[in-house]
C-alpha cells in the first residue's frame, strides 16, 4: 500500500528523537500560552512563530503543528475553566463545558475534550493522507485563472464564516490585499506604498502584522476587560470520566468528527461552523435535549471533536493547493515561506519527507497532547490563577523579542506597535482582523496570477468564467455570496453567530 508506505516514511521522520522533542515542546508551549485567557489559537501561533525560525524546515513545521494543537487545546481549557472562549470555535464548548465545571466536573470535561479531540485528530489525519495526494493531482491541472478563482472562493468563504457584517469582512480582506502590496513590485521594480521608507522596500513582514493584529490587540482588549485582574477558576474534583460518561460521549464524538471533517474541507475554514453544527446536531438527536446547557457531556465531546477535525481538515486545501482556508493556516503558510517552502501541489512530490513527516507529526502531536495534558490539568488551572499583571508583561516581552529577532530590525517592532493599535481600533469597530490576514497572505499570489491569466488570454477578462474549473469555482463563490445576502440565510447566520 502506497498510503501505508508513505505514512511509515512520515513516522520515521517525525519519530526521530529531535523531532519528537520539538513536537513535545511545541505542544507544551502552545498549551501554556493558549491557556492564558484572551489568547486564542491564532494569537498563540502568531506569538510563537519566532521560536521555530532557527530550526530546520521539517523540525520547524513539526513544532508548529505541536504549537497549533497545544494552543487549540489550551483554548478549550480556558473555555471550560473560566468560560472565556479563546476563539469563536470554542464558544460552544463554553456552554456545557463550563456548566460541567461549575458542578465540579471540570476534570471530566477537560479529559473528554482531550480524548474527543484525539479521536477526531487521528481520523482526520488518515483522511488527509488519503485525500491530499489526489487533490494535489487536480491542482497540477490548475492554471493562473483557476488559481484566481480558487482564491476568490476561499476569500469569500472566509467572509461567510466571519461574524458580523459581510461588507466589513470584505473590506478587511481588501485592506489585507492593500497591505500586501507595500514594497517593491516584483514585475516592474516600482515601489508601492512605501512612504519613502527604505525599510518597507521589501514589503511588510508578516510576523509584526500578525503579532500586532492578534497578539498586542488581544492583550490590550483583555487588559481593558479585566483591568489587569486575574480570572476565577472552577475547582477540579475528579479527572476521569465515569463509564456512564464514556457511553454518552462516544457516539457524540464520532458524529462530531464526521461533521467537522466534512465542513473543514470547505474553503473558508469550518472550525467554527463545524463546532456549532455538531452541537446543534447533538441537541437534535438527543433524547433529552433539555440537558444541554446544563452540563451535558455530549455538548463537550461533539463540538470539541468537530473543532479539531475541522481545523485539521483545513490542512487539506492548504497542503495540496497552497491556499490557506483561515487565519491560522495563513500563519502556517507564512511560516513555511520563511523557511523557503512554497506550499502547494509540488510539495508532495518534491519534498515527500516534509509532507508525510508533517502528517505523521499530526498523529504524534495529538497523542502527545493527551499524554501531556491529562496529568497537567492541575498545573494549567494554577497558571490561570496567576494575576494577569504578571503575565502580560511577560507576553509583551516575548512578542517584542520575537519580532525583533526575526531580522534584528527595530523597525519591525515599531510596525508591530502600529498594527497593535490598528487591530484594537478594528476590534472596537466590530471589524474582524482574521480576513485581513488571509487577504495579506493571498495578495501577492492573487495579483501575480491575475496578471498572468490576463496576459495568457490576451486581455480577455471572460477567461475566468469560460474555463470550466475556474468558471465552476467562481459560480460556487457567487452562490455563497448570494446566499449570504438572502434575508432568510442572513437571519440564521446571525443566530448561529449570536453567541460570539
Amino acid at each position: 500500500m502506497d498510503l501505508i508506505g508513505n505514512l511509515l516514511l512520515g513516522l520515521s521522520v517525525s519519530l526521530s528523537p529531535d523531532n519528537l522533542l520539538l513536537c513535545f515542546g511545541g505542544a507544551l508551549i502552545g498549551t501554556l500560552i493558549g491557556v492564558l485567557p484572551g489568547l486564542g489559537p491564532t494569537a498563540t501561533v502568531a506569538m510563537l512563530l519566532p521560536l521555530t525560525f532557527h530550526l530546520p524546515p521539517v523540525g520547524a513545521l513539526i513544532m508548529l503543528a505541536g504549537i497549533f494543537y497545544g494552543s487549540q487545546y489550551g483554548g478549550s481549557a480556558t473555555a471550560i475553566l473560566v468560560n472565556l472562549p479563546g476563539e469563536s470555535s470554542s464558544v460552544v464548548t463554553c456552554l456545557d463545558g463550563h456548566a460541567m465545571a461549575r458542578q465540579g466536573r471540570a476534570g471530566v470535561a477537560l479529559a473528554t475534550a482531550a480524548l474527543a479531540s484525539l479521536f477526531a485528530g487521528i481520523v482526520t489525519t488518515v483522511l488527509i493522507a488519503v485525500a491530499g495526494p489526489p487533490l494535489a493531482g487536480v491542482a497540477l491541472a490548475f492554471g493562473p485563472a483557476e488559481y484566481v478563482s480558487l482564491m476568490l472562493l476561499g476569500l469569500i468563504g472566509a467572509v461567510t464564516l466571519a461574524h458580523g457584517s459581510v461588507v466589513k469582512a470584505i473590506a478587511m480582506i481588501l485592506l489585507g490585499l492593500l497591505l500586501s502590496m507595500v514594497g517593491t513590485d516584483v514585475n516592474s521594480g516600482d515601489t508601492r506604498f512605501t512612504f519613502g521608507l527604505p525599510q518597507l522596500y521589501d514589503g511588510i513582514d508578516f510576523v509584526p502584522l500578525a503579532m500586532g493584529l492578534f497578539g498586542l490587540a488581544e492583550i490590550i482588549a483583555s487588559l481593558e476587560q479585566t483591568g489587569g485582574v486575574g480570572q476565577t477558576t472552577a475547582p477540579i474534583a475528579s479527572l476521569w470520566p465515569k463509564r456512564e460518561d464514556v457511553r454518552q460521549a462516544w457516539p457524540a464524538t464520532v458524529r462530531g468528527t464526521v461533521m467537522g471533517a466534512l465542513l473543514g474541507i470547505l474553503p473558508g475554514g469550518g472550525a467554527t461552523l463545524g463546532s456549532f453544527a455538531a452541537y446543534s446536531l447533538e441537541k437534535k438527536v438527543s433524547r433529552y435535549p433539555e440537558r444541554f446547557g446544563q452540563g451535558a457531556i455530549e455538548g463537550v465531546a461533539a463540538p470539541e471533536a468537530a473543532n479539531n477535525a475541522a481545523s485539521q481538515a483545513c490542512f487539506i486545501p492548504m497542503l495540496s493547493l497552497g491556499i490557506p482556508p483561515n487565519a491560522i493556516m495563513a500563519l502556517m503558510i507564512g511560516a513555511m515561506t520563511i523557511h523557503g517552502i512554497t506550499p502547494g501541489p509540488q510539495i508532495m512530490a518534491k519534498q515527500p519527507e516534509l509532507f508525510w513527516g508533517m502528517i505523521a507529526s499530526m498523529l504524534i502531536g495529538n497523542v502527545i497532547l493527551v499524554i501531556l495534558n491529562l496529568p497537567m490539568i492541575g498545573l494549567w488551572v494554577r497558571l490561570l490563577r496567576v494575576p494577569y499583571g504578571y503575565l502580560f508583561p511577560a507576553i509583551l516581552v516575548f512578542c517584542c523579542i520575537g519580532t525583533y529577532t526575526l531580522n534584528n530590525s527595530a523597525f519591525n517592532v515599531l510596525l508591530m506597535a502600529l498594527f497593535g493599535v490598528l487591530g484594537y481600533v478594528l476590534r472596537k469597530l466590530d471589524c474582524e482582523p482574521a480576513p485581513l490576514m488571509l487577504g495579506f497572505v493571498l495578495g501577492p499570489l492573487l495579483e501575480e496570477n491575475l496578471g498572468r491569466a490576463l496576459l495568457l488570454s490576451g486581455g480577455d477578462p471572460t477567461v475566468f468564467a469560460t474555463r470550466p474549473i475556474s468558471g465552476s469555482l467562481l459560480a460556487v463563490a457567487a452562490l455563497l455570496l448570494l446566499l449570504m445576502v438572502m434575508p432568510s440565510v442572513r437571519r440564521r447566520r446571525d443566530e448561529a453567530f449570536k453567541d460570539e
Binding site: L178, L216, V229, F276, G293, F392, I401, M484, K498
Partner: protein, 197 residues
C-alpha cells in the same frame, strides 16, 4: 454551508458576551475616561447618527481606499493584456472606497451599535512600552530594553507594587538573555556600549 439550520444555541445562562446592538445608556451619561480600564466601565459614547460604530468603520475603510487611490494616482495601470504596477492597487483601492461607502451609507439608514468606550490606558500603555523597546533595544541593549518594556507595560494594567515589579523585570530580563543570547546564540547586544563593548 450557510444554509444549515441552526437553532438558537444559547441557553438562558452563561457567557458574558459584550452587548451588541443599541446601548440602553441614558442621555447625559458622560463616560469617565480616567477609569476606562476598570471592569464595569463600558459606557458607550453617544454621538449623533444612528449607527455610530458602523459610521466610523465605513469612514475608516473609505479613507484607507482613498489614501491608496491617491498614493497610486501616477502609477501606470497598463492594459488588460499587460497589467502594470498600478492596476491592482487602483482596483483594490476603488473596491475599498465602494465598501466604505456601502457601510457608511447603511449606517445612516439603520439603527446599530454605538461606539464603544476606548480603553485608553491599556492602549497607550502597551503601545508606549513596545515603542520604547523598539527605541532602546539597539542603543541600550536587550537587558535595559526589557526592563523599560516591563516598567512601562506595567502602567497599562493594574500596576504592581515596586518590589514584585522589580523582581518580575529582573527575572524576565535574565530569562530572555539566557534563552535568546545564551541558548539560541542570537547576536544581540545585552548591555549598553559603555558597560560592555
Amino acid at each position: 454551508m450557510p444554509s444549515l439550520p441552526f437553532p438558537n444555541l444559547r441557553p438562558s445562562s452563561s457567557l458574558a458576551a459584550p452587548p451588541r446592538g443599541p446601548s440602553p445608556a441614558p442621555f447625559g451619561t458622560t463616560p469617565d475616561t480616567s477609569r476606562n480600564a476598570a471592569v464595569g466601565d463600558r459606557t458607550p459614547l453617544r454621538i449623533p447618527g444612528q449607527a455610530p460604530q458602523d459610521l466610523a468603520a465605513g469612514l475608516l475603510i473609505a479613507s484607507f481606499g482613498l489614501i491608496a487611490l491617491w498614493m497610486g494616482r501616477e502609477w501606470p495601470t497598463g492594459t488588460l493584456a499587460y497589467v502594470q504596477s498600478g492596476f491592482f492597487p487602483r482596483m483594490i483601492g476603488g473596491l475599498m472606497v465602494l465598501a466604505g461607502a456601502v457601510v457608511t451609507g447603511r449606517s445612516l439608514l439603520t439603527h446599530g451599535a454605538s461606539l464603544p468606550a476606548w480603553g485608553w490606558r491599556p492602549l497607550l500603555g502597551v503601545t508606549a512600552a513596545v515603542l520604547a523597546f523598539a527605541g532602546t533595544v539597539e542603543t541600550l541593549g536587550l537587558a535595559p530594553a526589557v526592563l523599560i518594556l516591563v516598567g512601562l507595560g506595567n502602567l497599562a494594567g493594574q500596576p504592581l507594587r515596586p518590589v514584585p515589579l522589580a523582581l518580575l523585570g529582573a527575572v524576565l530580563a535574565a530569562g530572555c538573555v539566557a534563552l535568546f543570547v545564551g541558548g539560541l546564540g542570537l547576536p544581540l547586544r545585552v548591555w549598553p556600549l559603555w558597560v560592555s563593548p
